[in-house]
């Protein structure tokens, strides 16, 4: 096993720079942070909540939420905790902070104060600083995670972990490719190595912080093998830096068999690859994201989409589900709508919690397929690196299009693959680009798509992809001609 941990010296050199990049960085005192984190009761530690749920076979519910001002944000989280019955709380970071544009974020805070309502789409944690952020975590009784989409989240991690947040979403691939335009993948992976090392340092000091690579990527018809390949690589990168509590994610595709098979295969792949790489003491858990694509505008229909996500997430046995709201089509929800989405999901998850996971021959067949596909991609990626280095593998695989995320904004991504639903709504691959899938697998995908085209009396075409993207918003799974 090759030790790829960032050296303490290297870390401290960067740290100085990171903490000086914005005034609030000066508030970070690592020793004080450790002491504070140690004093947090177990039930407020995210990693603890996740592994407990996993062991007991429970599925936890977590919303997304964040507003510009601290007191408003506290009110929001408290509401989601009481009225929404959330098991886990989020703090979603605003888009300016995600791009390290703290000056713009400051303007957003000011404008929000003036307008009396949040004009930012999230909570600008860096601008607020450690002491103010701590007010958030201390005001609530549930564990709180930082959720964002930040290619360089080093300062954000320093500030929020010092402020008693106990979980941090993201990764060098999953918070670059879908969230940036031209940040070199090598850079974002380096930034995230820092974050993971920071979490590793907390771990070494006896504080377990949960890390969660962002599973859904672009959230738009991403085939499970693509997001699984990214999840495994990011998982390895995190474990290499000393992370122990790791949650791997997947965004709902909509076909129940595929969604259940995706969570089963994700666990299976993670265990195999992590163990092969020598990581035996991983606290592995999973997260299932309710449908990330377009939603129906009608709230009653949106409740249907939310419920379906909860059904699939629970029947797949995910450790937690990230919940949408009936306002999804309209952007950021009110706290009331957010709590409604949580309560609908709660009812579903509770009613299903006594019932077993879904298992069927169809699920087993699909699991076998996803395993083969993901292994083909990962082995294709590792073949480009020496010593199975996940960083090198990721960078070169993206360059070569061996990993290719559909509809991603980043110029680090080839963007040659195109997904499409088959006749039963499974997400299949229409254009495979340079994905190194076995020929019989590619043939299988093509056959399934031809079946659908035949059923619809048209030829397999780009138009079908567009139809699929808008289908759920228009009330269906497969985008059929009207």
């Amino acid at each position: 096993m090759i030790d790829r941990k960032m050296s303490r010296e290297q870390f401290e050199t960067q740290r100085k720079e990171v903490l000086q990049s914005w005034p609030t960085g000066a508030e970070v005192d690592f020793d004080a942070a450790i002491a504070l984190q140690r004093s947090i009761p177990k039930e407020k530690n995210f990693a603890h909540a996740m592994i407990q749920a996993e062991r007991e076979g429970r599925t936890l519910l977590q919303p997304r939420a964040g507003v510009a001002l601290v007191d408003e944000h506290i009110r929001l989280l408290k509401y989601l905790e009481t009225e929404g019955e959330a098991d886990l709380l989020p703090t979603t970071i605003d888009a300016y902070t995600r791009q390290n544009r703290y000056t713009e974020a400051a303007k957003g805070i000011e404008k929000s104060q003036a307008a009396g309502t949040s004009l930012l789409n999230g909570f600008p944690a860096v601008n607020h600083g450690v002491a103010e952020c701590r007010r958030v975590t201390e005001a609530v009784s549930k564990p709180v995670q930082v959720r964002h989409g930040t290619p360089d989240a080093r300062l954000l991690a320093e500030i929020t972990l010092a402020a008693e947040f106990t979980a941090f979403e993201g990764g060098g691939i999953s918070y670059n490719i879908p969230y940036a335009k031209n940040v070199p993948l090598r850079s974002s992976i380096q930034y995230w190595k820092y974050v993971d090392r920071l979490v590793g340092l907390y771990e070494e000091a006896g504080v377990r912080i949960n890390r969660e690579p962002f599973g859904p990527l672009t959230g738009t018809l991403v085939p499970p093998c693509v997001s699984h390949a990214v999840a495994i690589l990011e998982g390895l990168l995190a474990l290499e830096q000393g992370v122990v509590s790791l949650t791997l994610g997947y965004g709902q595709c909509g076909n129940l068999v595929q969604d259940v098979a995706a969570i089963i295969s994700l666990r299976n792949l993670a265990q195999a690859y992590f163990s092969e790489a020598g990581f035996e003491n991983v606290e592995l858990t999973t997260v299932f994201h309710q449908w990330m694509g377009g939603f129906p505008e009608d709230e009653a229909k949106a409740f249907g989409v939310i419920s379906w996500g909860s059904v699939a997430g629970r029947l797949a046995g995910a450790t937690k589900i990230i919940v949408k709201s009936p306002h999804e089509a309209m952007g950021i929800p009110t706290k009331e709508a957010n709590a409604q989405g949580l309560r609908t999901s709660r009812q579903i998850v509770n009613m299903l919690s006594d019932q077993g996971m879904l298992d069927s021959q169809a699920v087993q067949r699909e699991v076998a397929l996803i395993l083969r596909e993901t292994r083909a991609i990962l082995e294709g990626a590792f073949a480009l690196s020496s010593g199975r280095d996940p960083e090198e593998a990721a960078v070169r695989a993206f360059e070569a299009g061996i990993i290719d995320v559909p509809f991603a904004p980043s110029n680090q991504n080839q963007g040659k693959i195109l997904p499409m639903r088959d006749n039963e709504g499974f997400v299949r691959i229409f254009k495979a680009g340079a994905l190194p899938l076995p020929q019989d697998v590619l043939d299988f995908h093509r056959e399934r798509l031809e079946d659908r085209a035949k059923a619809e009396g048209r030829i397999v075409s780009l138009r079908m992809v567009t139809d699929d993207i808008y289908a759920i918003g228009k009330g269906r799974l497969v985008g059929r001609p009207q």
């Binding site: 605003d94 888009a95 300016y96 995600r98 791009q99 544009r101 713009e104 303007k107 957003g108 404008k111 309502t117 949040s118 004009l119 930012l120 789409n121 989409g149 879908p178 969230y179 940036a180 335009k181 672009t218 738009t220 377009g294 505008e297 306002h327 089509a329 309209m330 952007g331 950021i332 929800p333 009110t334 709508a337 509809f407 991603a408 904004p409 780009l462 567009t466 993207i469 918003g473």
Partner: protein, 151 residues
């Protein structure tokens, strides 16, 4: 004059500010290209000045601004003024998406963005087949007006 009318309709597309929602942008690009437009697609995270520079370079008829992440109100403020300053004050400016934070009455949102100088304002579920006709009409009107001004 006849030659000028044959010039393809040229539009600049992009997602403004620090917004990285790329799916709709890719679909708009594919759609307008298929409809025969010349599309200058700046992709995601486009600044106001980038939009204007691209429009000047390509002698575009229109700028179609998208914003999906709720910061549209901050990001779009002053775009028309900047167009005037840089000499393309009469360019067609459209904006669409989830323009504000949260669920708001669309007529209020529309009024707000029209007051900012946008010619048309669209919700996220806009039907492209209807919209393309309006765009052609808007462009034709602008071209005719420009032609008349020259005479």
């Amino acid at each position: 004059m006849a030659q000028q009318e044959k010039r393809p309709y040229t539009i600049v597309l992009g997602v403004i500010g620090f917004d990285c929602h790329s799916v709709g942008n890719k679909i708009l690009d594919a759609y307008f290209t298929e409809q025969g437009f010349k599309v200058i697609n700046l992709g995601v995270m486009v600044s106001q000045d980038d939009f204007i520079s691209a429009a000047i370079e390509s002698a575009a008829d229109a700028i179609l601004v998208s914003s999906l992440y709720g910061h549209g109100e901050i990001d779009c403020d002053g775009l028309r003024g900047r167009c005037i300053e840089r000499g393309i004050g009469d360019i067609i400016l459209w904006v669409g998406g989830n323009l504000v934070v949260g669920k708001k009455d669309f007529t209020e949102v529309e009024a707000k963005f029209r007051a900012m100088g946008f010619d048309r304002v669209f919700p996220p579920d806009t039907d492209l087949d209807k919209t393309v006709q309006e765009l052609i009409e808007d462009i034709e009107k602008r071209r005719q007006k420009k032609a008349e001004e020259k005479h």
